[in-house]
Assembly symmetry: C2
Homo-oligomer: 230 residues x 2
Amino acid sequence: MAINNWLGVQTEVLKRIHDRTWKPGEIIPRETDLAYEFGCARVTVNRALRALADKGVLDRKRKVGTTVALYPTSKATLKIPLIRKEIQDLGTTYNYKLIRQSTNQTPNEKRLLTHFSINDNLIYIEAIHTSDGKPFVIENRFINQKIVPNFKNQQFEENSPNEWLLANIPYTHGEINFAATNCSVDISTLLDINPGDAVFQVERTTFDKEEVITNVLLTYHKDYRLKASL
Amino acid sequence: MAINNWLGVQTEVLKRIHDRTWKPGEIIPRETDLAYEFGCARVTVNRALRALADKGVLDRKRKVGTTVALYPTSKATLKIPLIRKEIQDLGTTYNYKLIRQSTNQTPNEKRLLTHFSINDNLIYIEAIHTSDGKPFVIENRFINQKIVPNFKNQQFEENSPNEWLLANIPYTHGEINFAATNCSVDISTLLDINPGDAVFQVERTTFDKEEVITNVLLTYHKDYRLKASL
DNA sequence: CAGTGGTCTAGACCACGAG
DNA sequence: TCGTGGTCTAGACCACTGC
């Protein structure tokens, strides 16, 4: 009869939320009581409830207790795969091509000034990733030149800077923005679509503590869908 | 000298990954050894490493050991707030207005057939959420009529169906899709933008086990940005 | 101050999976 | 087979927070 593993406890708790034994906003029994009821250690109950609180299903507060969250739709997990892997997972052939590369750039777009200062030296890279030869996404990337001291011009000729950065430059955190834009003439030519077509853009900035490592703008082909799960 | 809490262990591990004592792809010492080195219990090390594995920083495999992930950019957390809360957090006034509502609809769009079967009875709702009176997002929602047995026509006159569903209909999981589209004439009129402008769309479907509860398509005003963190 | 969750410990056994 | 992470237990003390 005893539930003696944390996943079992989690399932039972979810069941009770689900059948409305415990309703949204209501307080549920304290860990000690649940442990007694389930016939397991309090730590086991704690692990189960903590996991649910992480997911946003429960709210926990010391001294007050654990309540069923009023609005559990709070968090979604988004897997951000390597572009190469994303394309290969579609069963198609991946290809990377460098379009343009330059050094000693200064931030020349508004969005960059959020992250870089006006005198920063940046490496600029423009590249395209293709799936079975068809344009998949355009990459516009700025890299803080300080963090690539021995930069060579051949560096990103063959390989995506993203993969090189991930393997060589550790980061502490990052920001991502998603948006929709009417695509410019330049981009539409590269993606082989019409100017003005709506395209999905992802802007990602990664940091090493306070310092910006890189800022990248990815402009996807127009039928791209990003998926996540709740 | 001892590190005797899991956050401390986590910090130390991150430090070593960061200063490249442990490089991407490399195996790190086993839990027992780290516990001995840090002077704490193995469970404490386990908790720290498990948390990092959840974040995608480490890969763990039984019998093999723990390795530093090659491509740590794997997961981002995305907070999906209530629209009302999102608007109120901007410091603006929130308003909800029902545009149209009908019952006994059948799935009439391709995307719906992924989730509903052709004979399902659905409630359809079209509504607009405004921020200081300006259009913010259009909501097109289908609700499985089976799960709202006592549906009244006034139900969503004053309040967003989303909030009602969250508080009253429990769900087990959901899917989210993000896309960019050129907006239609109808939508552009509602959002007060030009037809063809690129708009950000979020399609969300929630399930109660295998059964679909609701499918909603949110079409945001054109300058909307969705943010997430790594 | 007192009640609740948060965490640590030492030892034990289990489950997966590489060889 | 057997090494590694995964988990459980019982008991203890800590930390936050409402009263």
